[in-house]
């Protein structure tokens, strides 16, 4: 019974996701579904990316948050369209909530649509939003065992951003174990090893994401 309902929910989500994906494709918008645990660095990634690429590309953001608009307020300093979706306790965004707010964007005037999902390493990976691809963000302070313990997201992600590498000396994080587990789950997935405070790895990320968006043209 519960399984059937879950299947119905996922089917309805998939149909709407296909609509969203087709809309993005028609408008040449690269839609990135950013997924991580709470506090891994999703919003800071968006801040750095807007700073660097905001003058070269037209960026829009959807902020998924349970109850506040704190993340959106951090992005207010950039002159970009931002829409907040409050899930009111819900643990993930779905394609219907995305579809409902797309009218608030002028898609033809966008290159990127970044979606910051709710902070959760599990549920968001099960709901296709119609994104071009999923980006997994994970921080070293969460431990090197995260890909093995939460494989769904890491299997689906087109790229993995490993953040807070400046904190490795203060933890028992083992980079080789992390990379090796990840290779077992998703061989060949690009890994960006970043520190947003020190700036490590950001150049590679900017180059890579720029290549993704220019490939759409």
């Amino acid at each position: 019974m519960e399984i059937k309902i879950m299947k119905n929910i996922l089917d309805r989500n998939q149909n709407k996701a296909d609509e969203v994906r087709s809309l993005m494709s028609t408008s040449n918008v690269l839609m990135v579904n950013i997924i991580s645990s709470p506090g891994a660095g999703k919003t800071t990634l968006l801040e750095r990316t807007c700073e660097e690429l905001g003058s070269k590309f037209r960026i829009g953001v959807i902020e998924g948050d349970i109850t506040t608009d704190r993340d959106a307020r951090r992005l207010k300093k950039f002159d970009i369209p931002i829409v907040v979706i409050n899930t009111e306790g819900g643990c993930h965004l779905d394609s219907h909530s995305i579809s409902k707010v797309l009218d608030l964007f002028d898609l033809d005037a966008l290159d990127f649509l970044f979606v910051e999902n709710v902070g959760n390493l599990i549920c968001p990976s099960q709901f296709d939003l119609g994104e071009t691809f999923k980006l997994a963000v994970v921080s070293t302070t969460e431990g090197d065992d995260k890909p093995a313990k939460y494989p769904m997201l890491f299997r689906e992600a087109k790229a993995v951003l490993l953040n807070k590498i400046d904190l490795i000396p203060y933890t028992n994080f083992n980079l080789e174990n992390f990379r090796s587990d990840l290779r077992h789950i998703n061989a060949g997935v690009p890994i960006f090893e970043t520190s947003f405070t020190r700036g490590d790895g950001l150049e590679s990320w900017f180059k890579w994401i720029t290549r993704q968006v220019t490939a759409l043209r």
Copy 2:
């Protein structure tokens, strides 16, 4: 439709949780439902607690994990009963999965039953397992805004353990903001500020949890 189903699921969960709670009460077992984001320190808390209290109290552990038994293996060095529940993708434990494994414990031979829930700051807080109380674990590297952004768990928790305080100097974590947000959500909740690597805060935690279990007698 989906709301009605969710209500049914939660009602059935609640009935079973009431059964579990009554069983714990009859057997004088303190059952603690430990909830946090991935990598905040739940398993290490159990390691430290078993080291310190394992000779004074009889401890049992249920390990909730999506797919591996890695956390359980970390606890194998202690001579205690451990049961792993793999949720196979599920984002939380529920009272039915707990109830099914309780037969594997001799409850009359236990003082504590610690349940390490799946690493997720959202969904586990919505499912009563029949626990005596919920313990929220959160780490400084996740940021000081977590109580405000994920209020459900922090509202329900009987105590909050703020871990990795040794890493505060390397982050922009603001302890006053954290405490003040938390007080708004759950005034008077005890906060244990810990570093499992340095040992800070553990004495207070051991004393407090010992008081909780002796109060049952």
